[in-house]
Symmetry: C2
Subunit: 195 residues, 2 copies
């Protein structure tokens, strides 16, 4: 056997991404070396460059995948006939999706600054696209008179910030179940934009 462990191209790629996501989220992009990622996966540093062009591209791919997943998952999950139902759908979706991926969420908010101009613009565009989904729900609610937020865009950003904040304190097995947390935030979000 010429190689120590044989070829594993199908499994090593995802493992590199998993390790990078976890390490970047925990220690910060700049604090993590390619060697640390390689050691975590169990390969040598040089092998990483078979799967990524460079370190920034590795980060970009993680953030891009996260945003793509988020938008795709929302388009499948979104439901509700009227604005109130659609708002509740968004609130429950956003909390559940983010609580399942705390590391990707953290990365998406913290490490955008490590992206070059073009890569940054791509992620920023996807984020705005997602924010617009909620903004449109609030707008429609204002149009039909069930919501009375003074500013649809600000209301959308405020609600998203409020929901995303859950990831900073939520712990599995804590005082509140995910269901209960969803209930509480649905209540607050609905009232915040109602008359």
């Amino acid at each position: 056997m010429a190689r120590k462990t044989g070829s594993h191209s199908e499994i090593t790629g995802p493992r590199i991404r998993d390790a990078a996501l976890r390490l970047f989220a925990r220690h910060g992009f700049a604090a993590v070396s390619m060697r640390q990622i390689a050691a975590d996966v169990g390969v040598q540093a040089g092998a990483l460059y078979l799967y990524t062009r460079d370190k920034e591209t590795l980060l970009f791919d993680l953030l891009k995948s996260h945003m793509d997943d988020l938008i795709a998952a929302w388009s499948i999950h979104k439901s509700g006939e009227n604005p109130q139902e659609r708002l509740e759908s968004f609130v429950r979706f956003h909390i559940a999706f983010n609580l399942d991926r705390p590391e990707a969420v953290f990365l998406s908010y913290m490490e955008l600054r490590n992206l070059g101009r073009e890569n940054f613009a791509v992620i920023e565009g996807l984020r705005k696209q997602y924010e617009t989904e909620l903004e449109n729900i609030v707008k429609d609610g204002r149009a039909t008179g069930v919501f009375s937020a003074p500013d649809s865009k600000i209301a959308a950003l405020a609600i998203i910030a409020m929901l995303t904040g859950v990831t900073t304190w939520y712990r599995d097995g804590g005082r509140l179940s995910r269901q209960k947390i969803g209930d509480i935030y649905c209540d607050m979000a609905r009232k915040a934009v109602s008359g």
Copy 2:
């Protein structure tokens, strides 16, 4: 003259802190070298160690000062007789204070992970102390029946997350004045915890 520029101990210390705050916030703690900070201030790298024990202590001092300033400023600013007035006071204070220090706010949320156990605990304690201020306002409002949030602690965390989010999109000279932003968030925060 033995030295190039003479002694400036009273001015170099603050300048190091200013430069570190700006650079850490912009590029991330790990991405910024002591040499970059020194160059920004206009001294050599070795000279920094007259003012800080090491890089982590420099970060800790920045975060600690920020939290101390926040708590001190709130204790001076806080006003209002009833829970509604006190909530409005908190909302306007939090937005104004954070918009004046976007870099320190960003650091406080993003770079806690670069602190050791003990330093982390200190900052975390101060943050909890501040959060409790709002929690108590919500609790008092529930006790007198003017608020109906299902959970005072969650409501406080949700409102703080919502308010802090303003720093991610606010730009001087943008569509909305600070006054108007304060009005909008007062409205949403009050309604979110009301019946």
